[in-house]
Symmetry: C2
Subunit: 465 residues, 2 copies
């Protein structure tokens, strides 16, 4: 059986795989820092060369920012299924350096409760996860001379700065990116023994509200009791975002949200999520949000409203008896599949308008809108991936949600018509974006094996091991 040979090859070649991973980690491809521009190009070239070494036609594609690595592998032939792998080669800045136990760009194997782990910036996000599928492809290519499917690879270098040039690239390269499904490894497992597929991502409406009153700051002694105070007004409006039950008060906000299916609800219930421990980890005890829903539904399956910032008037030490001329706030809504972001924006405008006092000039600036994303449980690709993971881990893969968004998933859906399989191997304590970022070696190893199985499964029944 091919898959058996492939897995054996993976297990026998972990040392060179790790050495390649370390090479990748040693290049400080910090996309946010202009001083690392050349490092980003070097890293892109390194990825391109990896792809070329396993039968890809690969090149660097210029963008207005850091280049995209684009690669094509013909697989077994033009009729084979076609899979697009997305990843990113850039990493977050490493500061504060003083909080790292070692050089963030000199990866080391250290011991942890699950055996060896690799500590470095990008260990898991996303270099380590990219390596899981690159090494799986290498094993297939080495063992069989080809891949079980046609593969397109897109590895960008600006994910950590918000992918400003990705959508134009997707649009420009639409033809070159044609595929049946996308695979992304930038998410996590449920725990080190329990693999997971992320099938729900929340979307977002992010807006800024500016409320202006008098044309200058006023003395509260002279004007207090007559002049509108914009901070009083803004808190009065925003204080009504939720009702006593935690429901969001924007008109039409919940329109279109389907009930979570019984099977998914049961699956989430079965995860035994410990919300007390989750909150306890950040010094809290008592959940907020919609009282009618269990924790994981509130985090993955229900929308939220959070004021992310607020300002106005005097913020210095001591007292100043000012009535400010303006106040502002940033407000964001996490959306779930079924909600129309445009309708949420309309609801926000109507909500504010209905509560706006006379004399208040209100401006609402919308920074971003993105719908929630759901990969249907019954999708053939989800089923194939679940099976591949179950075979690797000896237990079912769980379908989980993600409270945040992964914008590329929504972009590829909207611009390329592609659903994404989110199969990742990170753990909650991986310190993503923080000092001492790490990736468990066991997760790396089983991640490669899982991708090898998935490639085989995607290629057709003959390849299931």
């Amino acid at each position: 059986m091919q898959i058996h040979d492939v897995l054996t090859h993976i297990d026998s070649n972990l040392d060179p795989a790790r050495e390649r991973w370390f090479e990748f980690l040693r290049i400080p491809s910090i996309s946010a820092q202009p001083a690392h521009g050349a490092d980003c190009v070097r890293t892109a070239e390194w990825v391109r060369d990896q792809l070329r070494s396993i039968g890809f036609e690969a090149s660097l594609q210029p963008t207005a920012g850091h280049p995209v690595v684009l690669g094509h592998h013909p697989g077994p032939g033009p009729d084979a299924p076609h899979v697009l792998f997305y990843g990113h080669y850039d990493v977050q800045p490493a500061d504060p350096l003083a909080l790292w136990d070692a050089d963030p760009f000199d990866p080391k194997l250290t011991d942890g409760p699950y055996g060896p782990r690799v500590v470095a910036r990008g260990a898991v996000d996303d270099k380590g996860q990219v390596m899981t599928w690159l090494e799986a492809m290498r094993a297939w290519h080495t063992t069989t001379g080809t891949l079980p499917v046609r593969v397109t690879v897109l590895v960008e270098g600006e994910e950590e700065v918000g992918s400003p040039n990705l959508e134009p690239f997707l649009l420009a390269q639409k033809a070159a990116l044609r595929a049946d499904v996308a695979v992304i490894s930038d998410t996590g497992m449920w725990n080190i023994d329990t693999p997971a597929l992320t099938t729900r991502l929340r979307g977002m409406v992010y807006a800024q509200i500016n409320l202006r009153a008098a044309d200058k700051d006023l003395h509260s002694g002279m004007f207090g009791g007559s002049a509108l105070n914009p901070i009083n007004a803004l808190t009065r409006i925003l204080g009504e975002l939720h009702d006593a039950e935690g429901r969001i008060q924007l008109p039409g906000f919940y329109d279109g949200i389907p009930v979570i299916s019984n099977s998914l609800a049961a699956e989430w219930d079965g995860l035994g999520f410990d919300e007390a421990a989750f909150l306890g980890g950040v010094g809290l005890k008592t959940p907020v949000g919609e009282k009618a829903y269990p924790a994981l539904q509130r985090l993955w399956g229900r929308p939220t409203a959070d004021i992310n910032g607020i300002w106005g008037g005097y913020q210095g030490a001591g007292s100043k008896t000012v009535i400010a001329s303006e106040a502002g706030a940033k407000v964001s809504f996490r959306l779930v599949p079924g909600q129309d972001p445009a309708r949420v924006v309309d609801g926000l405008r109507a909500f504010v308008e209905a509560r706006k006092p006379a004399d208040a000039q209100v401006e609402i600036e919308v920074f971003s809108t993105a719908p929630g994303v759901e990969i249907p449980d019954e999708s053939r690709y989800v089923q194939l991936a679940r099976t591949a993971l179950a075979e690797e881990y000896g237990r079912p893969a769980v379908l989980i949600g993600c409270g945040g968004s992964i914008p590329v998933v929504e972009s590829m859906h909207r611009l390329l018509g592609l659903d994404s399989l989110l199969m990742g191997f990170g753990l909650e304590d991986d310190q993503v974006h923080s000092p001492n970022e790490k990736f468990e070696f066991r997760c790396f190893h089983q991640g490669i094996r899982s991708h090898a199985r998935l490639l085989g499964a995607l290629g057709g029944p003959r390849d299931l091991g």
Copy 2:
């Protein structure tokens, strides 16, 4: 008649009076700026010398900051009424200098709609107003060889920085400051033709509220829908400060407030205050505050609640999906006579406590408390001053309120048992604390004459002109 001679002397000696006033204005006694420390001492010495030149025993009294000028005049004898005059010789900084039409410390007579005016920093606040009573005393002293009453003068040099050393000084010099009544000229007229006595000052409770939730900033995707958002919580609490009718919701907040007397309410109504013009001057149209009360009662006779500052989370450009760990606000309450500031503080704590969500750690820091002050209309001193002003202006002096507080009034009441007569000659457009501060020469002249009349009236019926 003595008063006739005194007034004639005043009218005949306006040029030297103006020259003395200009000398006073030329010394840049900016109390907030350490570089002007020596100027403050020079100014204090100048005031001391003025007092000595008209029969006062006067000296500089050291404080932890700028010195106080203290003077005593024996008047006609030890049984005469005893009046304490309070003023301040320090001024606000003059910046931004670019907005002045001329050097703020080189006073000039310029033409205005009411005739000549003097433009300079301190022209009205408070050097010009101090000169009105100093020149009145000079006229009495020159004409009669003494003053109609015993006079103690206290001119401090730190009013513009909050008088940090005044209360210790009042306590330490309690014996030297014994008097029957205090007179202060640091307030305004109703308009240039209508003199006013300010008989009500609002008090203040000023506090800062800090609300903490998680022990670090959280990602709104990961935690939104479970973790308490301190900005959501703070706006929810502060948004309930007022009800729909504009009434403040602190428990017990309105306890002890007497109804404004019919006569005072009628007097205020009779002023024909144009709230639309008042608000229009700062770009507003629609009054806020307690809907049940007319404008001047809201501004002078009713308490208020204003959020003077608020902050939390991300305030920069664009978006950041953070749930902040804390948020804060500065809140102040303008109080009216009858309200107990301690009870208002208790009410604030109870109000916040009752609305505080689980997981919120709330700290309330109280920066200042001061009760509202009222000088009873029927007070003998108010009646004497009304008469003096009526004789000078040929029309009744009105009793007005002040939405702000003049802390020294409350301090002298509490520490020395002294009521204050607030008889001032400023106009609303005097640009106090702003560029091109000015004092109408006519207000200066009639201010001197009014103080001369008041001194005579305080000295006894024989001196009423």
